[in-house]
């Protein structure tokens, strides 16, 4: 049973560019949440998708946007990249009805902005 799959695993981009990160949730899960994790810190909530809609959003600027597809997979897009966007981006999946009981995380995408 495949868990959460994220791609790519590593990415280097230049300031001002745009990036798209992808996530396939665990089989049977319908909700995808995205987190940004700076080195040595706890993950910060970006947004959550369910039924192809953004259901909740954290304190991130509009440069961060997302999408969920009918097969529950999701994309995270970041425009006009800043050096401060360098981080590990984590995708987490769950059932919408049991978010409070835990997520399954992917291994993340390490984004470096130079």
């Amino acid at each position: 049973d495949a868990g959460v799959t994220q791609s790519p695993t590593h990415l280097i981009k230049t300031r001002g560019q745009q990036v798209t990160l992808r996530c396939s949730p665990k089989s049977g899960h319908d909700t995808v949440s995205w987190y940004q994790q700076a080195l040595g810190q706890g993950p910060q909530f970006i947004f959550q998708y369910y039924e192809e809609e953004e259901r909740q959003r954290g304190n991130f600027p509009d440069r961060f946007s997302g999408h969920q597809f009918p097969n529950y997979s999701s994309e995270l897009n970041v425009n006009a990249l800043l050096l401060g966007d360098s981080a590990l981006y984590l995708c987490a999946s769950s059932l919408f009805s049991t978010v409070a009981y835990g997520y399954t995380f992917g291994s993340g995408t390490r984004l470096t902005v130079v």
Partner: protein, 113 residues
């Protein structure tokens, strides 16, 4: 503003020692979860506690949810090098029809021989 504060931030102990990690907040959560994260990997769920005062044991790990559902602790008995990692607590809040997890600041544990 970080809703969940963990202490200590860093902990370096020798194999066989006991330790406790704390997760504190001024907010009430519907549930609280503990995760462990190793370098280059995503967090892995260890346990979820739901009821105030609840205690759960997972081998040498004991988790407790505060009576008021605002805080939690993780106690490890006879730590082993395999326990090394970043320990994260996460609180769930129900906002309307959805739940959101907010993570704590993390406790980095290193267990040496």
């Amino acid at each position: 503003t970080q809703l969940l504060e963990q202490s200590p931030q860093f902990l370096s102990i020798q194999e066989g020692e006991n330790l406790t990690v704390y997760c504190n907040s001024s907010s009430v959560f519907s549930s609280l979860q503990w995760y462990r994260q190793e370098p280059g990997e995503g967090p892995v769920l260890l346990v979820t506690v739901v009821t105030g005062g609840e205690v759960k044991k997972l081998k040498r790990l004991t988790f407790q949810f505060g009576d008021a559902r605002k805080d939690s602790s993780l106690h490890i008995t006879a730590a082993q090098p395999g326990d090394t990692g970043l320990y994260l607590c996460a609180g769930a809040k129900n906002t309307g029809t959805a739940s959101k997890l907010t993570f704590g600041t993390g406790t980095r544990l290193q267990v040496t021989l």
